[in-house]
Symmetry: D2
Subunit: 374 residues, 4 copies
């Protein structure tokens, strides 16, 4: 081989290799971003929030401001009905107050505030949020069943809060007591928190799947979102992504009752496979797909438009030129994947296990990218 040729081959290789460096898109702020999926809008929602009207530490307006900074579509103030440690200072008997203050403040912005309240009992049944209420005060009755039935009469959507809470379950294990089964039987709650504050529960997920309960993720914020979830350092509050037909209270309620949700927590997506897969697929955009030079190594540029760093495990028969079988597509970046296809193909099928998503305990969904080569 002539040196001159070798030189050009070396040069070509250097340039080609150099070009594989991931492109960085513009840096993102704190607004949470996930794409819509076919047929639905992906709404970012937090339905478990406290204020000074129960045991939270801020006025309801701060909760709206936090949510606006986080780019949320809908929130619910869910102060405890039966628990008001600030009662000496805030004796107002109306359990709708935090909602009303937040609602009025939010009118100037494009964010929905949903009327809610937290039914706060010792275990069983523990704590439950009822949202889409007409009047929170009417839930303040001694008999817990009557409280739930009132929520039902008002057309509320009800979900079980932190069933894994060690203050009520010292082993942290979510389980149904008889009372929960009775509530379920009577149709008195429809959802369950799989994520609450800084906890996630495999058992809650299992319970959600077994009992057809809607999967919820909430911040349960009492202090400041920025501090609790280390937002300036890159953290995010836990939320529920709701796949709704529109940005209206009615659409959200319909979606929650239909179970169309994904919990988003600490870079983990938790939901039913039928929603998680389209969300991950919608997050990925093929920017280019070529075979450079005379190689049969496909060079595919993939943009991840979501907030999740997607951790993928290769399930294709191919190996990669710059990665083992486990790779990360970083949030809001374009990653170049080089696939050794042995021969040049018109189209490549790339199945991946998505390790940072769960559709059941220890079960990660699979997606399949179909890449048309240019």
């Amino acid at each position: 081989m002539k040196k001159q040729t070798l030189f050009f081959l070396l040069l070509a290789a250097c340039i080609s290799l150099n070009a594989q460096t991931p492109e960085h898109s513009h840096s993102h702020g704190r607004k949470i971003e996930f794409p819509d999926i076919p047929g639905y809008r992906t709404l970012k929602c937090d339905f478990h929030i406290h204020t000074v009207f129960s045991d939270g530490n801020v006025w309801p307006t701060i909760r709206v401001e936090e949510a606006l900074k986080d780019g949320l579509d809908a929130i619910s103030m869910t102060d405890h009905i039966e628990y008001q440690p600030h009662k000496d200072d805030i004796p107002h008997p109306d359990r709708n107050r935090s909602f009303e203050i937040a609602k009025r403040f939010a009118e100037a912005y494009d964010i929905l505030v949903i009327r809610g309240s937290e039914i706060t009992r010792s275990m069983p049944p523990g704590h439950f949020n009822a949202i889409f209420l007409e009047d929170a005060n009417k839930l303040k009755v001694e008999d817990v069943f009557e409280s739930f039935r009132e929520a039902k009469r008002q057309g509320a959507y009800v979900f079980w809060n932190h069933p894994n809470w060690t203050a009520q379950r010292p082993d942290g294990i979510t389980r149904f007591d008889d009372l929960h089964l009775q509530l379920l039987k009577e149709g008195l709650f429809q959802g369950i928190e799989v994520v609450n504050d800084i906890t996630y529960s495999d058992e809650s997920l299992q319970m959600a799947l077994e009992n057809n309960l809607t999967i919820m993720g909430t911040s349960d914020i009492h202090g400041l979102v920025d501090w609790q979830f280390e937002v300036p350092e890159g953290g995010h509050r836990p939320i529920t992504l709701v796949m709704a037909t529109g940005k209206t209270p009615e659409s959200i309620k319909e979606a929650l009752l239909a179970g169309r949700t994904i919990a988003w927590f600490n870079n983990l997506l938790i939901g039913k496979e039928e929603y998680v897969k389209p969300l991950v697929m919608a997050s990925l955009k093929i920017k280019s797909a070529t075979y450079p030079g005379k190689t049969s190594v496909a060079r595919i540029e993939i943009e991840n438009t979501s907030d999740a760093d997607l951790q993928l495990r290769n399930q294709s028969p191919y190996t990669f030129h710059a990665n083992s079988d486990v790779l990360t597509l970083k949030s809001h970046e374009v990653t170049t994947l080089e696939v050794k296809t042995l021969e040049r193909k018109d189209s490549i099928e790339l199945p991946f296990e998505v390790l940072n998503a769960v559709v059941a305990p220890n079960l990660h969904p699979s997606i399949q990218l179909t890449v048309k080569m240019e």
Copy 2:
């Protein structure tokens, strides 16, 4: 339940949850850091480096400065023997020059410079680095076998460079031609690059394991390390971690011949299980391990002292209070892991698959943490 009690339970829970936030240790500079393993020092080495004396773009002293900034223990200048595009300007016939200049400059610092050279042929056999040479010039002979035999006579350690290079293997697949088998049979090379520049090869790893070749990772740097590997943005040059009995050329050579290496590339550790497992184990320090309050949820603080973000998959029978089965222990941070052990234990066994390490294609090593509860 009395409100007062509930209040304290809530308060306790808030404090407990709050405390779980990962502690951030002091920020790290660019110096690459991995701990020693039992019986060996973990030396950070880059044995594939170019300068203006072949087709690189910097004077050898810059290579020493880069290596010092990266915290390396040993480097080798490995300019091409047969390929000198700058020959018109740098006609010096001595192929030891880049080594000598680097060596002299390095004398003021605690870094080893190893004499090396790159045997540069068309495929087969392609390119090979010979290091620990006595005189690089003597390798400049037409017959490729004679070149290798001369390296052997000089006591060199020889490894195959970028066997996956698309300029020489258009499908990017590492395979042995007859000539390679002959070289192997004659004991003329002992290692193989599984990582070169910005590429990694599963097939090279497979070949290394099947043929008992030492696993190598190198930068093959021609331009600037800072640019090529995006160091200011948090990237790192690929290197070989060498498990040596001491920081001497002899110890390093012995370790290379014995196959005690791990390639470190783009947050991936590649090596034999017998070295990767102790390295990961040595990187992890249990800072505390308690059962808070009356819970049976173990709270374990783990420090990761290595540069690798360790991506782990839970293989224990337990579930976690704040993670699914896949979690990341960030580099140089303390992560709190909460394990639901159902009952209080004196000691907990925590086996994990290490997803960002490979010991064979698609095969990730398992480690087992034994946590003594306080």
Copy 3:
């Protein structure tokens, strides 16, 4: 000149020049840091803070948490006496409540909480803070003079808030109406805000100096400190540095009455020369002072231990080797200053105008560094 000599001169110069690069000390968090001055401790204090008990948006405990994060030594909750927009929800008539809640929460920490209140009147006289009160409620009387007199009876320290506030002074100009002069004459207030929230006023400073009023800087925070002063982006809340004999309420009060304060606002220090000069002097530490090689260019390493980027104007007869007459000593960094002294001296006098400090409108204090050469 021989080449060899030239080479060494060049080398020496390169090394010398290289070494002038400022050293970066470890990165600082949000805790505000200023050194003590001879005879006094420098306490970081914010005496103008609101909570939900008047028109602020957080519970008093959040104010203590913010202050702890900011490293403050003392704070005062100063909710409006006469203005309570949240009264429907928080009808508690006791104007000491926010103090009491903050005080109890702060007991676990090393921070002082001072009882205070804001006398809130239309202009004149406008708003005034009274701190070190015994009972805020007693200030709630119709006659403004009686309110001030009650504060005096209680031994309070009283200062005029935002006299430049455009809602009360549409031209933003601080001026004394007859009523203020009467208050002054009767000794009913002793301080004045030169800094309030995100404003600074030259006229307020002038008034402070002319009337021997203590110079105050306060956050007047209603929302969140992190948002209002962009703390994650490097901003800081405005505070008053109080030069006190100890960290006790009594010492602080004594210092305030004696006028020993500096307002710290947006990298600006505002105070009397007798306190600003020692503070800047105490912030500067000579780390080394040498004449390299055969030069008469003094190489002086100066550490700035304060949070202020010190902007200095050279007033010495010397010129600098790497700066014009205006230079910045960055906060918490070591800067190397090279001074061309023409001949080698045992000691160098370096007078500087401190541009980011004011001791009167448009008047910047001068400091004098005496540098003993090693």
Copy 4:
């Protein structure tokens, strides 16, 4: 005053104050940015650069890559004619080689490479750069005057390098020896470095002004620009801004001979008033100018489109609502300036001293902003 009114005033004030927070524009990369000035393009140029062909440490192509990353318009390789420490390895006698290699490499990019060379003598006269040469080799003659005359014959532009260099001037003071005066008298050099590497010299500036020499700032880079000037940490290489009629070698030469330059060094602009003033003026854009509410405090949003943090001293009769007389308009940000004009005006004149620019030793230029109120 009614409480309701007070509430709205307070609210209005809060919103107004809040809005004054500086807007941050998108973050800037390392490309150096300064606007054009009326009649001229502002070209970013570095005319003092070394490579392995004298005592630099990189191949000329790296110099072009650095310059492209820095956004430069023109560079010159200026290797020493008489000084080649790498001569044993690079014996090539042609002193044009580094230019030629850089020139060829640069052809693919929009950057000009100017042929240059450094006349390297002991003091006097010291070192001089001759650029726009036809053949550098012809300058290699023993007699220093003949070397300069040859440069003149070739139509070169010649400037004195680091006249403050302590290796040649141990006191760091720039002064003219007889030989310099002779060179000047004969018209053998036209410029002088006021900035070299990490040094600046008031005396050089004085000499430039007194002798009508063009003001130059250069990196004199030998190692890597990124390291020497701490580019990842926000530093920048020193350059000369050349006010040229176009981006051609001829235009640049014409501008250099006409003295239309500004040296840019460590946030300092050094040049003749007639060029510095228009550059600062061109850097500032009024984005809005209003009187909010019923106030006479003008609210002016000013964008600084340059790389310089502009440190200004107020010279108007007005005071500011959020600043003392000294303020900083941060690079590539919009700063809101609030000016207390006492009464509402249609147009406001704002003269400022620009402290981070010098037009003579200790002399800072003044600019005047005319702000039309909306």
